[in-house]
């Protein structure tokens, strides 16, 4: 058996690996915790069935195997720098050598759970574009080592991390307590908690849920029945209940926002953006400014009441299940002026505040109503079935939908200049979606039969890493001639500019 300490000759194809480093000595503990999370069901099963067989050692053996595996990973995992690339070696029998050029790393994420912070360590993930897994994942490094690695990526391997050439870190946005409370108010995170709690209770015991429902029902209706509530009392108590539910949800939302966004700071070192946040668990994620693929500025109704907006970005890092892997929220909540200033600062050549917004013809407003009509009809039919003629009241939604569609059509606009292309949509909830021309990947011009009748077309602009939930970068109801002109000019520009991502 080769000793794991011996540097293997094939470790660095072109340059010698300087000073290989290991994970933190306690890393086995965190690997173990991670694996226990995965194996918690089998282990519980072992515990349950093991007890039946009077063989209580089985789960312990399982844990022991996991401990050995975790230690194994600690002893075989090491990383080092070879020129402009990072070399990660792992495994002993099945050896793996991973060479990651620094220039290919799009995102560096440091994650510290409460347990990590007790030991002063952090989990590091290096991400490249695409791919469902991180390019490299160090579980775990000492915090200083993690920050040093992040600096290394920032300098693309030029090792002068201690030298004075380090540019100053400037804070672009910090969220004080009041802003985080506002963030909690506008977000629906509380709903997630309630849904998760509900799912957990259902998982644990379905009877508990039924009993709870029954007792609540008994309390409500029994109470109501005893006192012979009139219609007014019913309405008042229902309103009170709804109000209470909203308050509880918002309370949860604020609590969650505090947990996740406490101490939020967006800072810039050189060309790299870093976001730090979190109360108990801390996240620190950083990416180069040019890795940003597309931008979304949103303003919901509550945002507007509080005079705030939020600014999100897409990076090319594929995010599937873990939401906190990549740089995503530049400004979870900020005043419109701050958002604009941030965009101006990060896209200095785009002229964001002086964009020449071109409105789209309002005459197409009725097409925005079309998707709601089948839904309204279905609801009307269902309601009439249940409540008779009263069900027709559902049709009253249509005039409102028409009004809203008209308002939406009036706000729809697009802008394109030599640097960016931007789309604005929405009325109650508004969003602005934009991307640099260099970041566009493909164009699509579509015309439905309705489009042909109205003399319009839809232009879809595809960017990398666009989440399923982020609004699409597309211009609807664009007059056909304008669409053709924009399409042609964009495709010419894209063909001349190389992809930089």
């Amino acid at each position: 058996m080769t000793t794991p300490d011996a540097p293997s000759p094939d470790a660095a194809p072109d340059a010698t690996v300087t000073a290989e480093r290991r994970l933190h000595p306690m890393s086995w503990l965190f690997v173990l915790v991670q694996q226990l999370k995965q194996f918690v069901l089998p282990l519980v099963a072992l515990l349950v069935f093991g007890r039946g067989d009077r063989n209580e050692l089985w789960p312990l053996i399982g844990v022991a195997v996991l401990v050995v595996l975790s230690l194994w990973q600690y002893f075989t995992y090491r990383y080092g720098v070879a020129g402009d690339r990072l070399v990660v070696r792992s495994g002993l029998f099945e050896r793996s050598l991973r060479v990651i050029p620094f220039a290919r790393i799009h995102n560096v994420a440091l994650q510290q759970s409460a347990l990590h912070r007790v030991f002063g360590v952090a989990e590091v993930r290096l991400e490249s574009a695409g791919g469902s897994k991180p390019e490299a994942q160090m579980r775990v490094l000492k915090l200083e080592d993690a920050l040093a690695l992040e600096a290394l990526v920032r300098h693309r391997g030029a090792t002068a991390t201690e030298s004075s050439s380090e540019p100053e870190s400037t804070t672009l946005l910090a969220l004080p307590f009041g802003e985080i409370v506002r963030l909690g108010l506008v977000s629906n995170r509380g709903l997630v908690v309630v849904a998760a709690a509900f799912a957990a209770i259902v998982q644990i015991s379905q009877r508990a849920v039924m009993d709870t429902f029954r007792s609540v029902g008994k309390w409500l209706f029994g109470f109501a029945g005893e006192h012979h509530f009139g219609l007014m009392q019913y309405v008042v108590s229902a309103l009170a209940l709804v109000l209470f539910a909203i308050l509880v949800l918002r309370g949860f939302s604020i609590l969650l926002a505090l947990l996740q966004y406490h101490g939020f700071r967006l800072s810039e070192i050189g060309r790299r953006l870093t976001v730090e946040r979190g109360l108990l668990a801390r996240w620190r994620t950083s990416a180069s400014r040019r890795r940003i693929q597309a931008w979304t500025l949103t303003e919901g109704t509550l945002h507007r009441l509080l005079k705030r907006r939020s600014l999100d970005v897409d990076t090319a890092v594929a995010e599937e299940h873990q939401q906190q892997r990549a740089l995503r929220e530049l400004a979870p909540i900020a005043t419109p002026a701050d958002c604009d200033a941030l965009i101006e600062h990060l896209l200095p050549r785009a002229g964001w505040t002086q964009l020449d917004w071109r409105a789209l013809p309002t005459s197409n407003w009725w097409r925005l109503v079309l998707p709601t009509i089948p839904v309204v009809i279905a609801i009307t039919i269902a309601a009439s079935w249940r409540f008779g003629a009263w069900g027709l009241l559902a049709l009253a939604w249509l005039p409102w939908a028409g009004f809203a569609a008209h308002r939406r059509a009036r706000r729809m606009a697009y802008a394109a200049n030599a640097e960016i292309v931007a789309v604005r949509e929405g009325w109650w909830t508004r969003h602005w979606r934009f991307a640099e021309l260099d970041k566009l990947q493909a164009l699509q011009l579509t015309r439905s039969p309705l489009d042909r009748r109205c003399g319009t077309a839809t232009l879809h602009l595809d960017t990398s890493g666009a989440g399923a939930l982020s609004p699409p970068l597309r211009v609807r109801f664009l007059p056909h001639d304008d669409a053709l002109a924009l399409y042609a000019s964009l495709s010419r520009t894209l063909a001349r500019r190389p992809l930089r991502w």
Partner: protein, 168 residues
Amino acid sequence: MADHDEAAAAAIPPADWHPLPDRARLPSMLTPMLPFAIPGLVAGFVLAGVFDLWLAPPVLALVGLAIGAWIGLKHYRSTFWRLDADGLAVRRGRMWQRETRVPATRVQHLDIKRGPLQRQRNLATLIVHTAGTRHSAVTVPHLDAGDAERLRDLLARPIEANDADDDA
């Protein structure tokens, strides 16, 4: 009707838009046949089970096949591609027209697929991958095999130039 004229105009595109070769008609018709026949068959079996109509499954499967073939034929007639200085453009659909353009600088990698029927008819399917999300793979089905390889080689050239740039 204005609609009809436009549809006809789309069917006879300018000279530099290439239609699919005649040999592609049969494979184009076959491709959507099964996806339509299977729901027909399932619906047929449901009808047969509920109303005791033993004829339903074969009849509905045949109807599905016919609809699939008809749709395939329409796809075949309304698919055009074009390669110009800017890159590759693919035009598909007649009712719902869509023209997708992949600039040559944005091509990530290229695939050529050839099924047995395509090999027999000297056809190939070209798939152009970009780093995008919604249009990350643009497919040109049932191209002439020679065209497909020529397109692949022409579109692959900027990638190599780009990579050489990166490493410099």
